[in-house]
């Protein structure tokens, strides 16, 4: 049975267990003179039986579904004849995809070697077996546990406290998933990054000024030896983020000031949702706009002035990214400006300062730490932004500060290195994970600092 169907079956079984537990508690209570002689309401006896039936079965199902693919792959590779054993992980994945293609029928068996066809047959058989085992195991676990749960329904049993403590642990597990995700991120990037630094020295990666990740696929191929220096990617990311900030910070900040200090309620009610619409537009749409409208416009405009501009200029990507970040900056600064106590405002106005003087000399300095925190968050977002740069910035890793030239960014390189065919042990693929690790560290640092500043600032006026 398919995992999805099995999931449904488990849910149905739990419902049955609920009904049986409920009925049993009632029938036990009947001779004693009604359910008021039960320790808990019949609902809790039913719920307890359902949880007993469902949770172990779901755990088994989840673990089996998660690991069966890997186990079957290992078994298949292990059963291949000696001379076909893959030398590297890349070969292994090629071989596996070939075998599964034969098994699914998309590659006719006549086109593959005999051991591959045999392996495909074995793969089919193993998958069938695994599915059978999983079905039997999950169904028997849920029936058995459900039966035990049902058997233990007694009037003296306090089902409610048991159900409640199970629920509490479930809730805790859901909250702890956040830690698990972080650990998952750290391990998935750290492991591959470590392997990358075994191939390419750390210093070369950090201080190298050449980035050309094309490595030879075969030993006899004439290809450039890859260069993995992240400086050009780093400067490219910074250049584009700086342009984005040049657009987003003044526009976002000034519009937040206007909306919070000058605009009347009606204007606010119209303009604020419109600004927030900018934040709701998917990044792929901004990328489309940057690549197909803004970039050609900039290069044509520059050409009409006699300046040479690339058709994938950093200016286009950065400018559009800035537009995307405007609502982010403006809503964060709006919060911060509104948090400045009214007494400061009133005091300044009472001394005869104009509104703009109050803003510039009293409120802005008071709000500055909070605004800085907001700007840092915006920078971290600009660094991690992917789709706009993938579509509108180029692939050429130029070390330049000219906004009209093409630069590339960390995120662009991650996407380019990891889309398409890949082998999992080439320096090229591992480089993407090393870049991911750098990106994660940089944004993490920015976020932690920014959140700390914002929190401290809030406490100051609360």
């Amino acid at each position: 049975m398919q995992p999805a169907n099995l999931l449904l079956l488990t849910i149905v079984l739990s419902m049955v267990a609920y009904g049986l537990g409920y009925a049993r508690s009632r029938s036990l209570a009947m001779p004693m003179g009604g359910i008021r002689h039960l320790k808990s309401l019949p609902f809790y006896y039913g719920a307890r039986a359902a949880l007993w039936c469902g949770i172990p079965a779901l755990l088994v199902l989840g673990l089996w579904a998660a690991f069966q693919g890997k186990v079957i792959q290992t078994l298949i590779i292990g059963s291949l004849p000696q001379e076909m054993l893959p030398a590297s992980e890349g070969e292994a994945s090629l071989l596996l995809s070939k075998i599964s293609n034969v098994a699914s029928g998309s590659l006719p068996p006549g086109f593959a070697e005999a051991p591959i066809v045999e392996a495909a047959e074995r793969l089919k058989a193993l998958r069938e077996q695994s599915r059978m085992f999983m079905t039997t195991l999950v169904v028997s676990v849920s029936v058995l546990a459900g039966f035990l749960g049902w058997l233990r329904v007694r009037p003296a049993l306090n089902a409610r406290t048991q159900v409640e403590s199970i629920l509490k642990w479930l809730f805790f597990a859901c909250a702890a998933l956040a830690i698990l995700t972080t650990i998952g991120i750290i391990f998935s990037v750290a492991f591959e990054t470590f392997r990358f630094f075994q191939k390419i020295p750390f210093t070369e990666f950090i201080f190298g000024s050449q980035w050309s990740p094309q490595t030879a696929l075969r030993a006899d191929q004439v290809a450039a030896q890859g260069a993995f220096g992240m400086i050009p990617l780093f400067t490219g990311t910074l250049l584009i983020s700086a342009i984005a900030m040049l657009v987003a910070v003044p526009v976002g900040l000034l519009s937040a000031i206007y909306l919070s200090e000058y605009a009347n309620k009606k204007v606010r009610g119209v303009v604020k949702p419109l600004l927030e619409m900018l934040a709701g537009i998917p990044t792929v749409v901004y990328g489309f706009f940057a690549a197909l409208t803004v970039a050609p416009f900039i290069s044509n405009f520059a050409a009409s002035l006699g300046i040479d501009a690339s058709s994938q200029s950093a200016l286009a990507a950065g400018g559009v990214m800035g537009i995307m970040i405007i609502p982010f900056v403006s809503s964060l600064s709006d919060d911060v400006i509104n948090a400045v106590p009214q007494t400061l405002r009133d005091g300044s106005l009472a001394l005869g300062a104009t509104q703009s003087e109050t803003m510039k000399k009293v409120i802005f300095p008071a709000a500055l730490p909070g605004i800085m925190g907001g700007v840092l968050l915006a920078v971290s977002r600009a660094i991690g932004e992917t789709m706009i740069v993938v579509m509108a910035a180029g692939l050429a890793a130029n070390l330049t500060a000219n906004p009209l030239e093409t630069v590339t960014t960390v995120t662009v390189q991650i996407v380019t290195l990891l889309t398409g065919d890949q082998e999992f042990d080439s320096a090229k693929t591992l480089a993407a994970f090393a870049l991911g690790a750098m990106l994660f560290l940089a944004t993490l640092l920015l976020n932690v600092v920014a959140l700390k500043i914002v929190r401290k600032y809030r406490e100051q006026y609360d």
Partner: protein
């Protein structure tokens, strides 16, 4: 005395300058808002301008003589014969009759006006109506992509017209005779991706998006709500709780592409799950949207006044009963609103899905959670990268569909908030 007057004088004299500054500052604010809003307007106008033509298709309607001898077909119910039969010839002959000045010699030039798929359309029609064989029918088939581009964009410098001058004259005449017509592009909404722009559609991507969103919703909503309940109601004040909170806040700001790396390393390489399937996409998007949902659900729980809790506790409800029977129902509208907004974010997300292989060229509409699929934003990305402008037109049209989905989701969230949320 004189000193004081001069003080007042100085202030009065500076007033003009200060008011000017005040006005300038205010103008800067208005300018900033104008820049932001005009960017929004330009973006929308640009996309609608590029894409509205994507919602129409160009067809050829003509009298087609379904002559069995010409088609090498004498029984349209025979599957074997249908396979071997020639469906191009009757269409071509019919078109040659429509084109003034076209003869057998320039049949190749005429054939290039027909879509390569038109013969398949005719085959399907004949399979459904076998009695048509030997009769003459008025049929409508797709025109070639080049004709489509010419009809929609003749005179637009951005588009390169691939038709020859003679073909262009023919098409002009056919348009005049209403043989070549444009109509609502149902192909766009009823088919998957294709190498031929006139046959490319978004149904596959929409179904892929729906499947992915379903996985995301089913996982992220219950988990997010449960986590929020734990953190707000049950969590003891200790290191572990603090650590969980710090983690959630940081995950909310981690770039989405990092979640793609996580999905690639954990779900695909460690667990051996297949690439480019909605389940893996949904799992990755779940991890990405969870922080958003948790944060908004916590805010919703916080907004339930303590008096409700105290009242329930006062009549003997356990902590869990207080939460599940009273707090949760009251916080539900706020949680739903936050979740819909989180889902809207997930629907527009592209980058992590690129890394788990949802960028493949997939023609078929996916029919399950474990079937290769692509999603709407990735489809936009794929078409936007095409050098053919006809695909750019499709990409803009797909963006409009995507934005329509997002706007309706956000409208639903706002409506829910207005309708159900109570102010205490």
């Amino acid at each position: 005395m004189t000193d004081q007057r001069s003080q007042a004088e100085i202030v009065r004299q500076s007033l003009k300058r200060r008011y000017r500054k005040e006005r300038r500052f205010r103008a800067y604010g208005i300018l900033a808002i104008a820049i932001a809003l005009s960017a929004l307007v330009v973006l929308f106008v640009d996309i609608i301008g590029k894409g509205y033509t994507g919602f129409t298709k160009t067809t050829i309607t003509m009298e087609v003589e379904l002559d069995g001898e010409m088609m090498y077909l004498d029984d349209a119910t025979d599957k074997k014969q249908i396979k071997m039969a020639d469906f191009v010839e009757p269409l071509l002959q019919a078109l040659i009759r429509q084109v003034p000045g076209a003869t057998e010699e320039n049949r190749d030039a005429v054939r290039d006006l027909l879509n390569p798929y038109a013969s398949n359309e005719l085959r399907d029609m004949l399979e459904q109506n076998p009695e048509w064989l030997g009769t003459t029918q008025t049929l409508t088939v797709l025109a070639h992509t080049d004709v489509d581009v010419y009809v929609k964009h003749a005179g637009d410098d951005a588009y390169s017209i691939k038709l020859s001058d003679r073909q262009q004259r023919w098409v002009d005449q056919l348009v005049e005779k209403e043989v070549v017509q444009t109509s609502f592009n149902d192909v766009f909404f009823s088919s998957g991706d294709s190498r031929d722009p006139s046959r490319a559609g978004i149904l596959g991507a929409i179904v892929g998006s729906l499947l992915t969103m379903l996985v995301t919703l089913v996982l992220s909503f219950p988990i997010g709500v449960a986590a929020a309940i734990y953190l707000e109601e049950f969590a003891p004040q200790n290191r572990l709780t603090d650590f969980i909170e710090v983690n959630i806040n940081n995950l909310a700001a981690v770039p989405s592409i990092i979640f793609g790396l996580l999905g690639l390393a954990v779900f695909i390489n460690l667990f051996g799950m297949p690439r480019s399937v909605p389940v893996v996409g949904g799992l990755v998007l779940t991890l990405m949207t969870l922080p958003t949902i948790i944060i908004s659900s916590r805010a919703a729980i916080k907004s339930v006044p303590p008096s409700i809790r105290e009242a329930a506790e006062g009549i003997g409800a356990s902590k869990m009963q207080v939460v599940l029977h009273h707090v949760l129902p009251l916080a539900m509208p706020g949680m739903l609103t936050g979740s819909i907004i989180g889902m809207a974010q997930a629907l527009g997300e592209t980058a992590p899905l690129l890394l788990i292989g949802m960028v493949a060229f997939i023609v078929d509409v996916p029919d399950g959670f474990f079937d290769s699929a692509t999603v709407l934003p990735v489809q936009v990305f794929l078409w936007a990268g095409s050098p053919e402008l006809a695909f750019i037109e499709r990409a803009s049209a797909a963006i409009m569909v995507l934005l329509a989905f997002l706007v309706s989701m956000n409208a639903l969230a706002i409506w829910l908030r207005k309708r159900l949320e109570r102010r205490w």
